[in-house]
Subunit: 324 residues, 2 copies
């Protein structure tokens, strides 16, 4: 539950305390809980948090990691965290779960595996379920990224399973998007059809020591080569790894750094971050409007809904009335 | 593509032509395409469609069917369609695909299997992908239901895979929600944890002739019995079927009719439909606002986004400015 008996400024300061401060992780956890617990009533507190964090944001490199179930996302995340930690980075992992009731179990398993890093204060791991949230994924994820960024993490790794629209949304939020594939998960032509070629900055082929990995790499490279890209655009690389045996992680981290350098040099970092901010602003504005309709316009909305359900009004005319 | 060289009123009339009219399916298809093709530019046409359909809505029984991948949704849909057709009902199937690039292939397979009903003019089948739509699933699905309802179908069966929030959304749209399960898809305790117990009006255990089906039924019944329900509330039944061998479909159709009778008798039908209309109105209003922000406020929004990305403004303050 959101605690309201603590000063937001203190919480932010403690969160920013960093490695030496054992209270830091708890403060970060509490700030994210504020987002998760947000409702119409407690949004006031959340506004304070966001205002207090605002001066500190923009430091973290936000990396999105997405892929189909079974490609080895959590093993890869864990291996990537280890590699980044070895390079002295503070790393936060935000595992966003857009999954249904039906697949909720798997993610819990993933989290348990992440206990690899349990003793390491330079790593913070948090799962977020988007279901039931005010405004869903689009609303909560950017705000959680903002908390982790403001808390001073060098890297915020946002991991999400590639189902629904979530991986497209995550790509919109990240500075660098990694699309994870593995042999045996459907062939490259399907992948091309489906449009993953638009979202990845780096394509990571996990289980690269298995049969079929070469084919996945070859197909992907072929298709990426066909894509029309403007002059000066980033050319997505295809990187083979084996997260399980910690193979290729050094090259992956180097490629991520290279992409970051390109973002800085090309001015695209500012563009992507403005886009992220824009979606955040819109999501908050929409949530605020919905809350307003709920609270102030309940009778009016009930009346309009009944008229539409009864065929006396069409929904566009009703929406006009609501807005007008 | 949306055709604008035809009168909307004619299109609606042709769509309502029914079984005898070979142009009916084409008109329905064209109306749904209008929704799928909707953009800021063509929304005007869509408004006309919705206004023209408005007097005719409210006839169809909207049935939602959801379940995890692998439980046999499309086989069950097909079997259910056959059973409803035998009872003389006109049936529309709306297969909503909230799936990612990564799983897009499976649904195509489902559609191909539905060619069982290809020659039957009393059946209309349509897949909709929510990705890329103006406003996504929440925006397009209720409007497509409205078209099918207005076109005079007796039953609109909305099938969606249980990933993401989609199945919860579908439950919000349907008069009657069927949750499909099968043995071997995770045990009942997981299901309970995950909250599917809140969304189903009827629980259908497919592959009931397989090992473990009895356990799924027993576990489900046990958990449903534990749920606190107010006086007079609907008590969800658990129905074993085998869609493949067309077993138990008669009982399922009877249970659906029973639920419908309860909806009518309890007044819940009007409540559910008002809720559906309400979500439709809100989604249209939100889409209209986003379009307004896009078109009229682009510079303003760009400016605010840059300020938030740069840490000079927090997103709540920016949202206030946008709304104020």
């Amino acid at each position: 539950m959101a605690r309201t008996d603590i000063e937001v400024a203190d919480l932010v300061e403690t969160a920013r305390g960093g490695l030496g401060d054992p209270g830091s992780s708890r403060a970060v956890a509490r700030l994210i809980s504020l987002i998760e617990d947000a409702s119409d009533a407690s949004t006031g507190r959340l506004r304070e948090v966001m205002a207090a964090l605002s001066p500190y944001v923009g430091h973290a490199h936000v990396i999105g990691l997405t892929g189909a179930p079974g490609v080895g996302k959590s093993t890869t995340t864990s291996a990537l965290v280890r590699e980044l930690r070895a390079a002295g980075k503070r790393v936060a992992v935000l595992a966003v779960d857009p999954s249904s009731p039906f697949s909720g179990g798997a993610l819990l398993g993933d989290r348990i595996r992440m206990t690899d890093h349990a003793g390491d204060r330079g790593v913070y791991i948090r799962s977020m379920a988007s279901r039931g949230h005010l405004g869903g994924l689009a609303w909560s994820t950017p705000q959680a990224i903002r908390v982790l960024d403001g808390a001073g993490f060098d890297v915020v790794l946002v991991e999400t399973v590639g189902v629904g629209q979530s991986e497209v949304e995550i790509a919109g939020l990240a500075d660098t998007t990694l699309v994870l594939l593995a042999p045996g998960m459907g062939d490259g032509i399907q992948a091309a059809k489906a449009g993953i070629l638009e979202i990845g900055d780096l394509y990571v082929v996990n289980k690269a020591d298995r049969d079929g990995a070469m084919k996945v790499r070859r197909d992907l490279r072929g298709m990426l080569a066909l894509a029309a890209r403007p002059e000066g655009a980033w050319k997505p690389a295809v990187l083979p790894i084996s997260a399980q045996s910690h193979m290729g992680l050094g090259d992956l981290v180097a490629a991520i750094a290279e992409h970051r350098a390109w973002l800085d040099g090309s001015g695209m970092l500012a563009v992507r971050r403005a886009r992220r901010a824009r979606e955040e602003i819109e999501a908050i504005a929409v949530a605020a409007l919905r809350a307003r309709w709920e609270l102030q316009g309940r009778d009016r909305l009930d009346e309009l809904s009944a008229a539409v359900a009864g065929g006396r009004l069409d929904p566009y005319a009703a929406a006009d009335t609501l807005l007008g």
